[in-house]
Subunit: 348 residues, 2 copies
Amino acid sequence: MATRADVAQRAGVSASTVSYVLNGQRTISDATKVRVMKAIRELNYRPHLAAGLLAGGKGRAIAMLIPGGKKGITSSAVEYINGATRAAADNGYHLILWPNELEKIEEIAALNTSGFIVGVVLMEIKMVDQRVEFFEDAEIPMTLIGRTNTPNSFNFVDRDFDGAAQTAIHYLAQLGHKNIALINNARFKTNSKHSVDYRFRQSVISTAKKAKTPLTHFYYENDANTGELALNEIVSTSPETTAIIALNDLTIIGLINSGTKNGFSFPRDLSVLSLSTSPSQVEMTVPEISTISPPAWEMGAKAIEILLKNIEGGSTSIKQELWAGDLIIRGTTGEARVGKLTFPHLKN
Amino acid sequence: MATRADVAQRAGVSASTVSYVLNGQRTISDATKVRVMKAIRELNYRPHLAAGLLAGGKGRAIAMLIPGGKKGITSSAVEYINGATRAAADNGYHLILWPNELEKIEEIAALNTSGFIVGVVLMEIKMVDQRVEFFEDAEIPMTLIGRTNTPNSFNFVDRDFDGAAQTAIHYLAQLGHKNIALINNARFKTNSKHSVDYRFRQSVISTAKKAKTPLTHFYYENDANTGELALNEIVSTSPETTAIIALNDLTIIGLINSGTKNGFSFPRDLSVLSLSTSPSQVEMTVPEISTISPPAWEMGAKAIEILLKNIEGGSTSIKQELWAGDLIIRGTTGEARVGKLTFPHLKN
DNA sequence: TTGAAAGCGCTAACAA
DNA sequence: TTGTTAGCGCTTTCAA
């Protein structure tokens, strides 16, 4: 592997001149520039990043910790990732995606220590999140997509859960819906404490209460194949339900598809409003689902911008942004049904 | 930031002893070990990765180039990524996902030059792929998921397209299907040349020819909302069709969902067999789609293992593996319909 | 079982 | 406009 010294020798200049040609921090005569570039090409020279970093150079990468467990990257995560990728690129940085394993978090700190990585973006934040605590202790610049239960001291972008819940309840109220079923993620009851499950549920509950709208809770694993079960339970146990608000993106797809197959018609029989379905998932049902979904792409991009403002601008002020998301009326919401919900004749 | 020298001083040993305590390459007395570890903890010492690499240490990371364009990470890509992530972790490596932008490929080479990245895995290979050529020139260890039109000299895992096509055609023949519609990706005609589009199409064509099964071609953008159009065109222009083979994972979801909504019944009216639907997508329709899909998780894992064998084992032999994928019969395939395909009465 | 010391290839301050 | 040089923090060889 050719080094900077090799290039310098071949071009007949000093080693530092090669550096300055490369980083443009000095005015260099055209003649020299040409000779150096020629030598670089001829030797197929490529700078040694680690050496540069060790000597005080600055890295241009950001690590984004992404879900890496059994489910891996979820389709909602993809949008955040894509937005962040683009924003990083637009700012001359590179986004490195790091499948999330808590044990390996030290390695990320090591990458920061050595300058490879200038900061981190975290997703899928829990109410109490060890990763957040770790990076805070390590003093590594960080922005959260989501927030913990003590968010005061962190940069974050998150959903405006209250705003989304209010839009949802009021929109459904306008359509005459008086009895609403809320589909929650079953992990809310059983599993580790994701911020989004808690906050969203709380926001819907308190908004419904204020609006005096009765709310019935249902809990399902967030899989498409829980959708049929969900619909059956709603019909059986809450036939007065005229609308569903879904926090589970996958369950609701399964609910609509199996319901349609079994002769239900949306929104004639039941209105469905999802608060978390991503744009690509919207196409997974006919009719397409009405949503109030987070502007995930923009939020991912914003997370990067906030992080870079801290790092490059030297700003230490904390930025926190809340995004409600727009109501997009598609095919699954309409006037409230009159009368009880019943099973249609199965059409085979 | 504490350095190794700080630790050494505090522990009352030499700097190199600290290194040996850390990497275990020397027998160290327990007393010394304890003192060093204590100093490390007290100083919150963290090794400087770049310095280690510069001095000849070995990196433990692999870069996986993933789709980073407008569509971003597709749901089929997720499975490959998850398999690769796990295999890397099992071997003590870390997988870094690098959203694919051709311009930035030099940075990956730089990471390799400096020892941080030991090799790369590429996805979504084109028949002629500049990335492959680049990494070959740069002599960076590489495994492809897919293959170019000159694959002889590369490690790869890819689908056994002929095997999958044969299984598909023969299975449908057994069910009495004599007229098959093949849904191709429209980018085959218009866009850059993805290996999978070419090879798969070719395999299905030649297999159908041998089996004397008439094949009608259709081309659609791979989006769910092309599904309704596709079904309409098939009904209108090829009413003798009794089965669809789909190379488009998204189009076929839209086709089944809109068809069901409009009164078609699968497989009574039409059998559907997808050759690329991922396990998570299978749940997006009712009934679930019969598939011959690649074992993406395993292929991703295998790609990593092949790469590491080259790197760690010093083996220079080329490994190439083809996986057909298993036929999984779910709800969309059955006996061939008798008579022409017609539009059902729309049920509203 | 431990220590000393020579680099690895680069950045940037200082000099010319 | 260009050159000289002192490290950056570590790995590893050689020596004890």
